[in-house]
Amino acid sequence: MDENSLYNTIIVNRSRAPLHAGVVERATRLGQGTNPLCGDRVRLSVRTEKEEIENLLHETRGCAICIASTDLMAEAVTGRTVADALDLARQFTDMLENGSSMVETADAAMPDALRAFLPLRTHRSRLRCATLPWTALEEALDHD
């Protein structure tokens, strides 16, 4: 299939076998994102210690894009400070929503794995699938 551009190996693999699924014990923060259009739902449990994300796990019901995005997000934000993670959330959403050429030169802080979602810029009806976990993350981190 020629879908490889969007459904590339990392996205397909992570959707089939997420590495960060589950519930964090002694979580300090919780977040949830739902998409009423399709019923997709992301639940996050996070343990922070001195404003650093020690552990983040997710329970995701959704499409491949949504599951993979949540799993890769978990990887990308673990070990970051809350402020850093929120920055990354904004950058990620920006990268997908503003299809500008800026994107290619985007911040070096954007992990490569997250760039796997770039082809979504031509599937705008699916953007929300990838940004849903980041909305849940913002909810978890914004409210103490």
Binding site: M1, E3, Y7, R16, C38, C63, R126
Partner: protein, 414 residues
């Protein structure tokens, strides 16, 4: 060699398809396979050209100007009304009210006829309604203290007639509002029976014909219905035009839905009096060109004939159920007794949205999601399905392309 009905029609189809300019488009470099006609059908040349011709040569506002253009425009608009009255088998052309879509037609009834229903009485809908035939009744319930009852469906996706009868039994139901064909399951509901049972307890009945009119001949008088609604864009017509048919005496008794120009007979600052039907329900400048376009679409559909349309869709649906059932991991949602050309399905390990996106990459358009029927999805224990729906221009080959692409998609994920 014997030639079956469907082969004869298939032979005609290439000619038919050529009348739909959009069908020769490519999507992502692949020939468009359009299997989303239940959401909105594509338009034949005659409709596109007829509407353009009107705007190019004979267009003005209707019922207002005392000039030649306005008279021609009014004639065309009113001729469309007559055409639609014939199409539905209405007794009087005044029983046809132009709205902007099915949703507005149902809202009109909920608002206007709803105001004649007393608190303590009930409206009865079913579990498989489109939000268009659900939310207006919830709004009426909350506004007017009217009970809203919901008739369940069976696991196979048919209306549960016993339960329907029980919900009618106490005589409190003033109005039944039920789909004539489900946009999710394809179920064609037993309209005659539903109407008979409603009338036996003194209830009126509205049928949401948004899907049904596309697939079969509907005769409201022969059905003995009270209200019937449909929407132009699913019937090969334009968007922005919908139809409410109701018995004359009901429309006469109902208060207006919206106020404004064209719906009054006289206006003073103290009081206005209403125009006779149907003008009473057509406030403001209506969708003039769209009404004419719908009339043309109906002429076109009737020239093909519902016998041919039904035979074609039955053959396609049978073929589709066969080939889809052979796709590993695929489940068709619902096995109703009578079904139109709409098939919802799910696949193990592949979310409907991923199915839709991957099909789209191959030029195949299907719908995925809850299809504006969230309560039905919940009843089925699903959050979403993918849906393929067929029209007169759909071919067996397109369904084969769907099935083989679904096989590849599944391999991709498993």
């Amino acid at each position: 060699m014997s030639v079956s009905g469907s082969e004869i029609i298939s032979a005609d189809l290439s000619g038919l398809r050529a009348q739909f300019p959009i069908l020769s488009q490519k999507v992502h470099g692949k020939p468009l396979v359009f299997l989303d006609s239940a959401a909105s059908a594509q338009k034949p040349d005659v409709v596109i050209d007829g509407m353009a011709r009107m705007m190019r040569s004979q267009y003005a506002n209707i019922h207002r100007g005392l000039h030649w253009m306005s008279e021609r425009s009014t004639e065309a608009y009113e001729a469309a009304r007559t055409r639609i009255a014939e199409f539905l088998g209405a007794e009087f052309r005044e029983e046809i009210v132009f709205t902007h879509n099915s949703t507005e037609a149902i809202n009109l009834v909920a608002y206007s006829y709803g105001s004649l229903i007393n608190p303590g009485q009930a409206v009865l809908i079913s579990e498989m309604e489109h939000h268009a035939n659900l939310v207006p009744w919830q709004m009426l319930r909350d506004r007017a203290g009217i009970e809203l009852r919901v008739a369940p469906i069976t696991d196979s996706g048919d209306l549960d007639l016993d339960a329907y009868g029980e919900l009618l039994a106490d005589g409190k139901v003033a109005l039944v509002a039920i789909t004539h064909m489900s946009n999710v399951l394809g179920t064609i509901t037993p309209a005659h029976r539903l109407i008979e049972m409603a009338h036996a307890v003194g209830a009126k009945i509205l049928l949401d014909g948004s899907q049904a009119v596309v697939h079969r001949r509907v005769n409201v008088r022969e059905l003995d219905a009270d209200f019937y609604t449909f929407t132009g864009h699913k019937l090969y017509g334009p968007t922005g035009i919908g139809i409410l048919w109701a018995r004359r005496e009901l429309l006469d008794a109902m208060p207006p839905f919206m106020g404004g120009g064209d719906m009054i007979s006289s206006v003073t600052f103290e009081k206005s009096t209403w125009a006779p039907i149907p003008a009473k329900f057509e406030a403001g400048t209506p969708a003039i060109v769209e009404a004419v376009g719908l009339g043309i679409a109906i002429d076109w559909v009737e020239a093909i004939g519902f016998d041919a349309i039904a035979a074609h869709e039955a053959a396609l649906t049978k073929h589709a159920l066969n080939v889809l059932s052979e796709v590993p991991g695929l489940s068709v949602v619902g096995q109703p007794r009578h079904r139109g050309g709409v098939i919802s399905f799910t696949m193990d390990d592949v979310h409907p949205h991923d199915i839709a996106t991957l099909l789209d990459r191959n030029g195949i358009a299907v719908r995925a999601g809850h299809h504006c029927a969230e309560p039905l999805m919940r009843r089925l224990g699903l959050t979403a399905t993918a849906r393929a729906s067929f029209a007169v221009y759909t071919t067996e080959h397109e369904i084969d392309v769907l099935a083989s692409t679904l096989r590849r998609i599944r391999q991709f994920f498993v």
